[in-house]
Amino acid sequence: MSTARFRQSRPMQSVGRGSGEQRATEMSDANEKMRAEGLRLYFGKFAAIKGVTLPIVAEKVTAIIGPSGCGKSTFIRSLNRMHELVPGANIEGRVLLDGADIYAPGMDPVRLRRRVGMVFQKPNPFPTMSIRENVLAGLRLNRIPFGDAHDVAERVLKKVALWDEVKDVLDRSGASLSGGQQQRLCIARAIALEPEVLLMDEPCSALDPIATAKVEELIHELADRYTIAIVTHSMQQAARVSDYTAFFYLGELVEYSDTNSLFTKPNDSRTEDYITGRFG
């Protein structure tokens, strides 16, 4: 009986070739809400993003994965010009929102951020405001008329499935909720402004599994109306919530594909290595 042959066994190869940029351009027949073209981002001399071309498809969820330091957080912040908060940041290339470059000279970053909202890793409700005030904060601070405060708060909190849990305590401080509830409150605050795009930077990293599941459920529901881009370090989460996935490595876009393909038969060996845990 020959069991010696297993010593010669050669492991699986990865499937095909083709750069991430190529595929990203090929797949652009889908309806694009935003699009990065030749994006380069420097912090001083350090190139955090080295030439990325990537579409964000409208009313779908795009996940961005990659190891630490690969530029995924930096990239998503460049979609609403939040990276400009860091001194010494400068940018080349274009980012298009509905076809218009958001970095064009006349474009106001403040107005941009009302169209492209953001939710952060650590839930950050305003501690001096009540739950209701938190939900309405974006509207109030921007002097956007919104009709009846209570109705608006109820509508938005229902959208994030938080209404039943907080409807009796709307006047309590925003910081008095649990972590998962706080994060949903922050999402509510962001969507109260009716943005067109919602960016999420590792929104579930600080949450326990049940809260994570609730937020993921929420993302599914929101995806019908909003375009969502989510950065996550959990590949399982990317596989669960997204329609398209982009893999970043060392500031470059290595592969972009629909999620099913990327997780069953990725094209690039680096993607294969990362998602199967062969890194490092």
């Binding site: 001194p87 009302r114 950050n124 305003f126 601070l141 401080s173």
Partner: protein, 279 residues
Amino acid sequence: MAYLQRKAVDYLARGLCVTATVVAIIPLVSVLYYVARAGVGGLSWDFFTNLPAPVGETGGGMKNAIVGTLILVGLACSFGIPLGVLAGIYLSEFGDSKFGRAVRFAADVMSGVPSIAVGIFAYTLIVLSMRRFSALAGGFALGVLMLPTITRTTEELLRLVPATLREAALALGVPKWKVILRIVLVTAAPGIATGVMLAVARVAGETAPLLFTALGTRLWSTALDQPIGALSVQIYTYAVSGYDDWHRQASAAALVLVALVLVLNIGARITFRARGESR
């Protein structure tokens, strides 16, 4: 064996710390006790409602000095608080430049400048140009003394506001100035209020700078361009005099001043803790 040894050393160290604490508190307690004992006799309704009696006569009160102190502190606040808070905002939001570092250094140095030197500064700037001693000059001097404390406190507290809060507000499309005013400042407000109260407490008892700015007077005056009485100056004047009655009044005034400072400090503590609990 080693365990018992460690326990013994632990008790010894703890005993030393407690002793040191007690020793450190003794001066505070004795001051309070002495002032209370000496001053409580001079307290009366008259003390608060009467003007000083002519020299040589007994009786009379310190109404003018009490009101004067309040006016001077009020002037100092109206000058020191807005300027200090704004400087603090500048330092925390934009102060990572060379200029910011220079301002910060200047504020730190200023908090160590002797109060009499500040008085001379106010004298040169205001008294000489107005050619008279005035409440304005005194208030200005006190305001300058408050400035570094308020600036640094504001800056520290604003920096304590987490960057995530600012990011959240900016991500809602709120312009930076509004973020600072409506979010950051509001969040830090209780702490800043505490800092202000402590600065006021410090300044209420200052004597040296007032000596040649507000000058002090035993007459009733609330005009801002005239010399004005102050509790601290009055205490000095009465204490170095030869009249027993005045000595008593000085002690009473000292008690009132100490009580004022104590109330302000305790108030500051309560506000700060109350804010901490509501989080």
